[in-house]
């Protein structure tokens, strides 16, 4: 049989048991495969070596302040909604050494840092691709390129997957970021009962498929896949009207709702840590006791941390009200002025992982009430 011609834009069918071959191929090409696996009662993005380590047969339940993994009763790999972790931990690591210095007639660099591995991200959802594109705007600007982010990002392979089962806190359909893949992936999967439909998104994706036992999908399965993707749009657990954003926030900086939220918000920073677009960072020096060596690190920071806005003249945002307002008015307001897009992809993580169940899809309507025009 002649080999099936594969081009960027083609859709082919890969038998489900051959997912392992696909992962093996990625590793063979030098990628470290990072994918979903069950840990701490949730789905985490960890190094994986095969499909057997993935959360097959699991689905998840989300509500404000709640995430539960439960049996799905089927053998699908991607029936869960992503957990607290997002891919930003790969491109923008929570903690990374920038350089080491040693005092030796002036400060001299010690050694050199290892280059980052090439990562293949397995099971990237459409909203997560949207989040990566948003972080690209922050870290890969025309006037400033973050070298840590750039090295990891440019070498990465993205194995994406269409979302067929949105979760209880999902609202990507409102944000226009999902649940269907549109661009930004090397290979895009749609998981059916017996096969994965594989959409070839790039030349690198085409390369990985070569030699794998893919077939031309029949019209019936293509139709079924389209139906499943279309149906997912209607299964969002949340929705958000964004028609008057960012103005509704930026014109209501003195709205009483900010005070009301601050009575519930604990300023714990959980929402900013789980948010796949939040990009704020801090630096730390760790020095030896005698002060002759120091390691400079970049770590995640959060606008909810008291030290975030601390300066010699005092704290710019001394209370929870001002910190929550900063977060939300940035995320769904001034972000658009800075980068031309809103900073939210509708993944629902900030709702799911809020210990006191603050729900931005409820807060925006609350801030909309009694708006002054």
């Amino acid at each position: 049989m002649a080999e099936l011609p594969i081009n960027v834009g083609s859709v082919v069918a890969l038998p489900k048991p051959r997912l392992d071959d696909l992962l093996a191929k990625l590793r063979e090409k030098g990628y470290q495969t990072i994918g979903p696996r069950v840990g701490d009662g949730t789905v985490q993005y960890q190094p994986i070596r095969g499909a057997s380590e993935m959360p097959q047969g699991y689905t998840s339940e989300e509500e404000a302040g709640k995430y539960r993994l439960v049996s799905s009763g089927n053998s699908r790999y991607f029936d869960y909604t992503p957990g607290a972790q997002s891919w930003k931990q790969i491109f923008f690591p929570p903690r990374i050494t920038l350089f080491d210095l040693c005092k030796n007639g002036g400060w001299k660099p010690v050694g050199s840092l290892e280059p980052s591995p090439r990562y293949a991200l397995v099971g990237v959802r459409p909203c997560e691709i949207a989040a990566i594109k948003i972080q690209d705007l922050a870290f890969l600007r025309t006037d400033f390129v973050d070298p840590v982010y750039q090295e990891r990002r440019k070498n990465a392979f993205i194995l994406a997957v269409n979302c067929l089962r949105p979760g209880g806190t999902c609202f990507c359909a409102s944000m226009g970021t999902g649940p269907q893949l549109s661009s930004g992936y090397d290979l895009g999967l749609t998981e059916m009962d017996d096969v994965f439909l594989v959409d070839v998104g790039s030349a690198a994706g085409k390369d990985i498929l070569s030699g794998l036992p893919v077939a031309k999908p029949d019209a019936a399965i293509m139709g079924k896949a389209k139906q499943a993707v279309d149906a997912a749009k209607t299964k969002m657990g949340r929705q958000l009207d964004i028609s008057d954003l960012p103005d509704v926030l930026l014109k209501n900086l003195d709205h009483p709702e900010w005070e009301a939220i601050s009575k519930r918000c604990m300023s714990c920073a959980s929402c900013t840590l789980v948010c796949p677009t939040c990009f704020c960072w801090d630096t730390q020096d760790h020095s030896s006791l005698n002060g002759t060596e120091t390691e400079r690190e970049r770590v995640w920071d959060s606008c909810f941390n008291p030290g975030y806005s601390y300066q010699a003249g005092g704290n710019t945002r001394p209370n929870v009200r001002s910190r929550y307002r900063q977060w939300l008015t940035h995320k769904l307001g001034s972000w658009k002025q800075q980068y031309g897009v809103l900073g939210c992809v509708g993944c629902g993580r900030c709702i799911t992982w809020c210990p006191v169940k603050i729900d931005i899809t409820e807060e925006i309507p609350a801030l909309r009430k009694e708006t002054r025009s």
Binding site: W107, Q311, A312
Partner: protein, 290 residues
């Protein structure tokens, strides 16, 4: 976006590696007042020393290994290129470590960062420079520029306030500035027994002279509360909002609009500021704790 584009005047800056400093030697330490001194730094790399340029009002990140970085405005003459002056108040972890530096010690520098006082666009105008406390060092490079080009500017008035007479910075230079036809009005919060001058806050100095709002620009830097009332007095005299320039202070870590700390609404103060036309920051200026 237009307001944002208008204040994005600084040149593209990329330090080559994230947060990697260049090293400079302390060549002179000039005590200015209790708890404040000017550190004159020279890059160890002579090529960098020759190539380094800054504009009045820009700042550097000074790095003390083991302690971290602090944003310090450059207080020296932009035309003096061999050594760069940084006037530092010893108030935090990093600046207290700077206080322990001796001649010949080494400090890391990244910069220059941020927008500048738009002196090149203000020729022909009367200028009011209103500064308080540690707010005068960021204006000194602008004053040097004006002195060098004195004929190109109209009336220049410096309104300067400090807590006490002994807190006044650069006092040995003030007479020279007066000789170059700069009207200097000084006030202190608390006088001592030798003080013959004005007592009170900087904005009250606006009542000591008349200005022509059609040809006046105001440049102000100091405590946020002082800036607030300087702006109030300028607006009361009908100076247009885009002719009032304010230098904002926020927690700054990266200098490149990346780390997020210094945001005011759509702006990253380290990149889109620190010098803003008041018209750009006006919507956020009176929002409490923003």
């Amino acid at each position: 976006m237009t307001a944002l584009a208008a204040v994005r005047t600084s040149a593209a800056v990329n330090d080559g590696g994230l947060l990697k400093p260049s090293w400079a030697e302390v060549v002179k330490i000039q005590p200015e007042a209790e708890g404040i001194a000017t550190y004159w730094l020279r890059f160890q790399d002579s090529n960098l020393s020759k190539a380094y340029r800054f504009l009045p009002g820009q700042f550097n990140m000074l790095y003390m290994p083991g302690y971290g970085e602090a944003a310090i405005s450059i207080s020296s003459d932009p035309e003096q290129r061999d050594v760069i002056g940084h006037t530092v108040r010893f108030v935090g972890n990093v600046t207290r470590a700077i206080n322990r530096l001796k001649i010949g010690d080494v400090v890391g520098i990244r910069g220059p960062f941020g927008t500048h006082w738009p002196v090149e666009n203000l020729e022909g105008k009367d200028l009011i420079i209103a500064v308080g406390g540690i707010g005068i060092p960021p204006l000194r490079p602008a004053i040097y520029h004006i002195l060098r080009n004195r004929a190109k500017f109209g009336k220049i008035t410096l309104l300067y306030g400090a807590r006490t007479p002994s807190d006044l910075l650069f006092s040995s230079e003030l007479d020279e500035w007066r000789k170059s036809d700069i009207d200097i009005q000084i006030t202190v919060d608390r006088a001592d027994s030798n003080w013959q001058g004005q007592v009170g806050v900087v904005p009250t100095l606006f009542y000591k002279f008349r200005l022509d709002p059609t040809r006046t620009a105001v440049l102000t830097c100091g405590p946020e509360i002082m800036i607030r009332f300087v702006v109030f007095e300028a607006l009361a005299r009908r100076v247009p909002t885009n002719q009032i320039y304010v230098s904002m202070e926020r927690n700054m870590k990266c200098g490149q609009g990346s780390c997020g700390h210094c945001q005011i609404g759509p702006y990253f103060v380290c990149k889109d500021g620190p010098v803003f036309p008041f018209s750009a920051v006006e919507p956020y200026f009176n929002v409490e704790d923003f």
